[in-house]
């Protein structure tokens, strides 16, 4: 396996939140000791429910937000200080796509101008070369120059997301962070964009961090998947294997909660309770109040992510050692 392009070690990030106007401020641990490595040309999928810290992780990896603790290394080097020339050069190699393409585009500019902007900012190529590059990018995302002359309002949701993708690819980045890129799209359009993303990844040997709550889409596009719960990674492993044989009780519930045509809801694990508030993180394993298999130890001791055989790592007191010792009868 090639060395990782992106290496995240033990990053944490907390925010101060005040309850009420005169309330005491409490620390909300959005991300707490997350470590990841993404190999060149591979996709790491990050799944979890709202408030699990997956978007914050993405922002820290991109350097949009500094971590309180821990470090992000890109291509073997630590992230440069924001604002410096080295940082600028590094940032041209990493780009991002978000959920809402309309919010990411300027409604008053033709989309071709917006695709060209990163080239102008980073001073890449002559004016004619930039024009050529814009046409090439539009073709790459399966649109025509005629689409480029339009304004965002005159494009459909799927076309807008293609424009955002084209703009992100303008500087020929090595690494792309996609935060819920297809969640706002209809199923048939979603499939178009997912296929396009898969194709482009192979053509341009892109490395992706793919953040989504949709297990199906994540599995489709990822090599490795990490599951987050309240700021921590609770399970990580290769995509097919993780969804076929989830080990952590939370992953099991998540996979079981994903509705499938042709299967009635019999045998589904329905978790009790709401996802807990990140500001009031339970003691011990954060998942224990909702866990159907919790034991006394779970309430007091925080489980650490440890290898359980293969490339799987699980943070759960009940899942230990090689996979032969699995306790569930599924």
């Amino acid at each position: 396996m090639s060395p990782p392009l992106v290496e995240v070690s033990g990053i944490s990030r907390s925010y101060a939140m005040r309850s009420g106007m005169f309330g005491r401020s409490t620390a909300v641990h959005a991300v707490d000791g997350v470590s990841l490595a993404i190999a060149k040309g591979e996709t790491l999928g990050l799944v979890g429910e709202s408030g699990s810290g997956k978007s914050t992780t993405g922002r820290i990896v991109l350097g949009l937000e500094p971590p309180d603790r821990g470090e992000v290394r890109f291509d073997g080097k630590p992230m440069a200080t924001p604002g410096t020339a080295a940082w600028r050069a590094q940032r041209a190699r990493m780009q991002m796509i978000f959920q809402d393409p309309l919010g990411a585009l300027d409604r008053r500019l033709p989309v071709a101008t917006q695709i060209r902007e990163p080239l102008d900012i980073h001073g890449l190529g002559s004016s004619a070369e930039r024009e050529d590059r814009v046409r090439e990018l539009l073709r790459a995302v399966e649109l025509t120059p005629a689409h480029g002359a339009r304004y965002p309002g005159a494009l459909s949701g799927g076309q807008r997301q293609r424009i955002v993708l084209a703009r992100a690819l303008a500087t020929k980045p090595d690494f792309l962070v996609c935060d819920e890129p297809v969640s706002a799209l209809d199923v048939s359009i979603q499939a178009q964009v997912v296929n396009l993303l898969c194709d482009l990844q192979v053509q341009l040997s892109l490395t992706l961090l793919f953040i989504s709550h949709d297990l199906r889409v994540v599995r489709q596009i990822s090599n490795v998947v990490a599951v987050m719960y309240l700021g921590r990674i609770v399970e990580i492993g290769s995509a097919d294997d993780l969804f076929a044989r989830p080990e952590h009780p939370y992953t099991q519930a998540l996979v079981s909660a994903s509705p499938a045509p042709g299967r009635r809801s019999a045998g589904r694990i329905v978790l009790a309770g709401d996802p807990p508030n990140p500001a009031a993180r339970p003691q011990g394993c954060a998942f224990h109040p909702r866990c159907p298999r919790a034991i006394a130890r779970c309430a007091s001791e925080v489980p650490v992510l440890s290898a359980v055989g293969g490339d799987r790592q699980v943070a759960c007191h009940l899942v230990t050692g090689p996979r032969v010792e699995r306790r569930d009868a599924a």
Partner: protein, 327 residues
């Protein structure tokens, strides 16, 4: 058995632009019907029009009958008894459906006072019973809380409680779990199916999520560009879709297990309602389309027991289906 709700030839136009172009739906007592389709296909408009909830400039025609009584053009007093009483509706965004400055008790009691002959203590007792029913812990105390004090999943539970206040015969659930996290979605769907069984209530589940509909409904209708294109028992539809659009929707869904395959994306986009193609609205995106598809819009025709499809190219698969059924 005559259906509980029978919609025939329902059409809606906004400012002369047709968005619903002749929808027929029959809903039996206690039945769970799923309505799937992409945004703009008319899933929500169908029921808003049926209940007279569309703005005045919408032109609605056709027929909507509840227990044989016509609802379209019915006097407001009659509609008021139907809406919230016999037919209740819950929406995607529960937080905006509740009044943020009134307590839950006040809002639940308002619904109860409107639809039931209850007074004083009986109202409060009933409000508490409803909250218990939808699984809000410590219901008696939580009644005096405000909407912001509940989580998203709990607010949707409260909306369900309010919808149940009038003891409805039909619950229209419009994307009830779209805004919720996966584990909470599972909770709400389980709650809905339990309540439906216990109260023998009919339910229409509107969703863009094929999985949600497949698991929770007896029968599914697939909508495209203001029309129903296929209707079938849910297990049959998902095992063996006939309409090319239904096939496309199911092929576009990434599998959660088994080998990964390239998704079969439907090319192009949904047509603009103001510039609807002549003939079958799906023809421009359809791989099977032939010249005849552009000539006239196909109507829903039966292809098997309890299955209808609106596609002239379905003939071949229709014969195959009937052949298998005859053996």
């Amino acid at each position: 058995m005559s259906p509980l709700v029978s919609i025939q030839g329902l059409s809606v136009a906004f400012n002369g632009v047709p968005v619903l172009r002749g929808v027929d739906i029959a809903l039996g007592k206690g039945e769970a019907l799923g309505l799937v389709g992409e945004s703009g296909s008319g899933k929500s408009v169908t029921w808003l029009a049926a209940l007279g909830l569309l703005p005045r400039h919408a032109r609605v025609s056709g027929s909507v009958r509840l227990d044989g009584r016509e609802l379209l053009g019915a006097p407001a007093t009659e509609l008021d008894r139907v809406r919230g009483g016999r037919v209740a509706m819950i929406f995607q965004d529960p937080a905006s459906a509740l009044n943020p400055v009134l307590t839950i008790r006040k809002q639940l009691c308002e619904a109860l006072a409107l639809h039931r002959d209850l007074q004083g203590e009986a109202v409060k007792a009933e409000a508490k019973r409803l909250l218990d029913l939808v699984g809000i812990p410590d219901a008696a105390r939580r009644l005096s809380a405000y909407p912001h004090e509940f989580s998203g999943g709990q607010v949707q539970r409260i909306m369900i409680a309010m919808a149940l206040a009038g003891n409805p015969d039909v619950l229209i659930a419009d994307e009830p779990t779209t805004a919720l996290d996966a584990t909470i979605q599972a909770q709400i769907l389980e709650l809905l199916s339990t309540i439906r069984r216990e109260m023998s209530m009919a339910m229409v589940l509107i969703s863009h999520d094929l999985g949600v509909v497949a698991e929770n409904c007896d029968r599914v209708a697939v909508m495209y560009a203001g029309r129903i294109v296929e209707q079938a028992p849910s297990n049959q539809l998902f095992a063996d879709p006939v309409h090319p659009y239904a096939q496309g929707l199911i092929g576009a869904l990434p599998p959660l297990d088994g080998p990964r395959r390239r998704l079969t994306a439907i090319p192009g986009t949904v047509p603009d309602p103001a510039h609807m193609p002549g003939g079958c609205a799906f023809a421009p995106r359809c791989a099977l389309a032939e010249e005849a598809c552009g000539l006239g819009a196909p109507s829903l025709a039966p292809i098997a027991n309890d299955r209808t499809v609106a596609c002239i190219r379905a003939e071949a698969s229709r014969r195959a289906l009937l052949g298998i059924a005859a053996e």
